[in-house]
Amino acid sequence: MLFGIIWGDYLDRSDIKVCVLRIEGTNNEEEMYNAFKRLGTSPEIVHLKELKDIFDYNCLMIPGGFSAGDYVRAGAIFASRIRAKMANELHKFIDEGWPVGGICNGFQVLVELGLLPGFKRMDYPNACLFLNNSARFECRPTLLKHESKGKCIFTRNIPKGEIMMVPSAHGEGKLLLPKEKDFDKLFENDQVVFRYVDKKGEYAEYPWNPNDSAYNIAGICNEAGNVFGMMPHPERAYFDRNKNGISGMKIFESVLKYIEEK
C-alpha cells in the first residue's frame, strides 16, 4: 500500500474493480468472482455484450468453462467476439500494464486472441491449446511447480520452485507453438510460469502431465508479465494449502498486490 500513492490517493481493496467477463457457456465465473470477493475487492461478472469500457476496471479475468460451447475450437468464438468488440482498447489496457488473466477456457481465449505468448502484437493466434494426447476431457488433480523468476505479476507471492496441487479439467490443454525456437524464447523471457510435475517435483509424463503439453507447460505469461494464462484451476484450490501453506488464493493475492502497488 505504500507504493502507488499518487496525489495522496491510493487504491483501497474495495476500490479494486475486477471484471469477470462472460458469454454464454462461460460457467466458472462464480468461482472466479468469489476468489476476488473473498479478498475484499469489488469484482463484477460482466457479459461481453454489456461491457461498456474496459478501463472502468483494474483487472480483466476470463474464467473457465465452455464459452459458446467450445464449438469450432476451445475459446475461439469468445476470442473472436472480444476482438470484434474491443481489440484496440484491450491492447491499450495491456500496454498500460493492467493485468489480464485467463484460467482454463480463459487461457484458451487469450491464446486465440494472440495475446499469449504475445511475442509481438498480432490479431490472430500464434499458439494453440490443442487436444490432449488422451483425446479426451479429463478432470484430475495435478501438481504444478512454480517457475517464474518474478516476471509474472500473478504469481509474485509464490516462491519459485513451490509445488502446489491444483485441479485440472480440460480437453484441450496441450500448448503448441509454431516453432521449436519459440519455446526457447518462452524460457529465455521468463514467460513459463507453471509446469506439471510429479510428487518428487520432476517433470513427468501422463497422467502427471494430463495433456502431454510440451515441456510440461501448464501456464505462461506475456513478455511484460501482466497477461497470464493457465490450464489448471487455482480458484478451485482456493483453500487447499500445501505443506508451506500455499494455495490457489496466492495467485489472486499476487495480482491484487500488483494493482495496489501500480
Partner: protein, 769 residues
Amino acid sequence: MSSKQNVFEVDLNLPDEKLLELSQKIGIGLSLDEMKSVKNYFKEKGRSPTDIEIQAIGQAWSEHCCYKSSKNVLKKFIFNLEAPQNIFVIKEDAGVVEFDENYAYVLALESHNHPSAVEPYGGAATGIGGILRDVVCMGAQPVALIDPIFFGPLDLPYKQLPKGVKHPEFLFRGVVAGIRDYGNRVGIPTVSGSVYFHPGYTSNCIVNVGCVGIVKKEDIIHSRVKELGDIFVMVGGKTGKDGIHGVNFASAELHEESETTSRSAVQVGDPITKEPLIHACLEANSKKLLNGMKDLGGGGLSCVVGEMAHAGGFGAKVNLEKVLLKEKDMMPWEIWVSESQERMMLAVSEENLKEVLDIFNKWDVNVVVIGETIPEKRVLVYYEGEKIFDMDSNFLTSGPLYAREVRIVERIQKDIETEKPTDINKILTKMISDPNIASKDWVILQYDHTVRGSTSLTPLWGDVVNFSPQDSAIVKPVEDINKGLVISTAINPFLVEYDPYWGSASAIDEVFRNIVAVGGRPHTLADCLNFGNPEKPERFGDFYQSVMGLNYATKDLKISFSSGNVSLYNESVIGSCPPTPTILCVGIIDDINKKITSNFKKEGNSIYLVGKTEREFGGSLYYRVLGIKDGIAPKMNPKNLVNYSNALLESMKDGIIKSCHDLSEGGLAVAVAEMTFGSDYGAELDLPLIQDMRADEFIFSESNSRWVIEIENDEKFEDFLKKNRIPFMRIGKISGKDLKITQKGETLVDVPIETLRNKWKNAIWNHMG
C-alpha cells in the same frame, strides 16, 4: 372445425378393434378401455374430438405422465413415509428439503432409458438437460449431477447381439459422452453415480440421472399459476418436431424397429442454450418476478399448461401460433405435444412482464407470451383465432389408475456347503478385475466434478494420480458456511434380481452406510424404479416386492423419499431388465473439513471391521465367480444400521477415525484392497477363527451394515464401541506394499498392491481404450 388450420376431427364412433388400431396408428398407445372412456367423454359433449385433443389425452394418460400402474403401490408404501426435514415432497418436479434455517436443497432423480437405448449420446444428454430443468423450476441453482448407468456385458460377442439392439460398448461410450458433453458444458459437476454391467441390460440399458440444487427458502417457487391474470411466458429453445411422442415411447416395450420408428422421440441436447436459460430463470425468480415456473418435459406444452393451471385452481387459454418454431410446417397437435429441449414455462403477472422480458433478452434467450389464466378449470387452445381445443382439466389430468395383478415369484434360497477354493489370490484378482468392481475412472474422469469450485470430496480420491473409490461425494453449496451436502447412490442389480425384497432393502442399507462412511448424516432419499412390463404379473410382482423392501428398510430410519420416478416397460423380446430400484441419498455434513476419505493414511495404523458378518452369499460376487447359483440373500436390520451409524459418526467427531470404507460387492477383501489403491501402503490382515465360516467366506461375504476403518488410537475406539455395544473386530494393520490375509498362520491372500491396482485400473480401459 375447418381443416384450414391443419386441425382435423377424429371420429371415435368405431368398433372396438378399430378404436385400438386408431390409438396405435396415431402413436398414443392408449388401451381399449382408455379409448372407450375418451369416446364416452366426447359422446357426452356431443361432438368429436380434434386430433390435438386426442393427442393431449394420449400424453396425459401415458404411464410416464400419470403413473397409472405404479401409483397405488407407491401411495401405500413410499409416499406415506414422513420425515420432519421434508418441505415439499413428490407433488412437485423435485423434492425440497431443509438444509439450514435459510436454505433448502432440492433433489430429483429420473430415468432416460428408452431414448438412450436408441441414441445413447442424445438420450443421455437430454436426460441431464431434463433433470436440470426439474431442479431449476423449483428456483434452485443446480450444484451436483448424478448418473447411475447400466449396460449389458462389454465383452458380449457381436453374434449374440439381438437384432435391432446396439452393442453395450457402443451404448456405454455414447451415454458417457452425452453426459460428459452436456454436464461439462452447462458447468454443473457430475459427482456421483454408478456403472453396472449385467446381461439383462443388453437390450434394455438403464440410464438414470439425478440432480441436487440449492435454493434460498424465500426463493422456492411452485410449478403452478398463482392468480387470475397470470400470463404464460414460454422461454428457451424453440419448438420442433423432435421429441414427439417421447412419453409414449417411454411407456412401451422396445422392439426391433424402435430404432427407425422412434426417431422423432430422439433429440440432441443443446447445453449452450440451457446454460443462459438457467441463469435467466434464476435471476428472474430471485428478483421475485415470477408466480410460477415449470419445465417442459414429457408431454410438452400439452402437459405443462394444463398441470400448471390445474394446480393453481384455474384454467388456461393458449394462442398456439405464438409458440416459436424451429421448422415451419408443423401441425398444431405437433406443436402442442412436442418435447423439444431447453424450454421452460413461467407464470408472470402483468406488472412484472416487461422486466421478465428484459432479463431474457439480456441473456439472449427466446421469450414469448403464449397465453393466460382463465377462471374456469378448462384448457382452451386457439390457433390463429380459431378454437381448436377445449377440454376440462379435470378430465385431462385424471388419467386411469390400475391395480395391476401381482404374482410373486417364489425364490428358493438355501445355504450350501462349498469346497474351499485352492487359489484365493486368483479369485480375488478376478473379482478386482470384474467390470462391476473395477475402477470407473474411464467414466468419472471425463466428467468435470470440480467445476463450481465447491466439490469437497470427489468420487475418486487419493494420492494425486492413484485413487481409492469414495463412498460418497461432498459438495459445499453455500459460500459463507462450511456445511456440506453428501451425495451417494446405490443399487446392486444382482442382489435385487436374486431377491427383490432384500435386494432393495440392501440398496437402502448401502446408500446409508456410504453417506456415513465419509462423515455424513443421511438426510433424505430419492428413488428411480426401473422395471419391466407391469402388465406381466410376475414383473409387477418384482416391483411390488421391491417397493415393500424399500418400505421395510426406510421406515425406522427417520428419513424418507422426497422425490422419485418410475420407469416401467424396460423390456424387449428377450426379456426384462433386472429389477433396478436406483436409490439416491443426500446427507449432511456440518463441517466439510471433517470429512473422512477411504484411502489409507498411515503405516502402522490398525484396521477394524465394524458390523456383523453372516453366511450371506446369495447374489454375491463370490458365488458368481465360483459359478454357484445358491445362497441366502443378505438381510438388513434398520435398527442395527442406525445404531452402528450413530456410533461411527460420533467417533468421527472425536477424530479417531482416519479412513473409512463401506463393505459392498466383494466384501471385506475388496474393500481393503480399494483402500490401499489410493495410497502407497499395503495391509496385513490376520483373522481369528470364525464360527460357521471359513476365512475365504468371511472375506467375501456381502452382509450389510459393515465398514472397514483405520484407527490410530485403538483403545479409545474399542472402549467407545464396547460402551455402545457395536460389534467390531480388529483385523490387522497398515503395513508393507502387499495385501496379505492370513488366518492362524495360513496364508489366503498375498499379492502386491501394485498388481491388484493395475488389474483394477485397467479392466474397463482394456475394452474402451
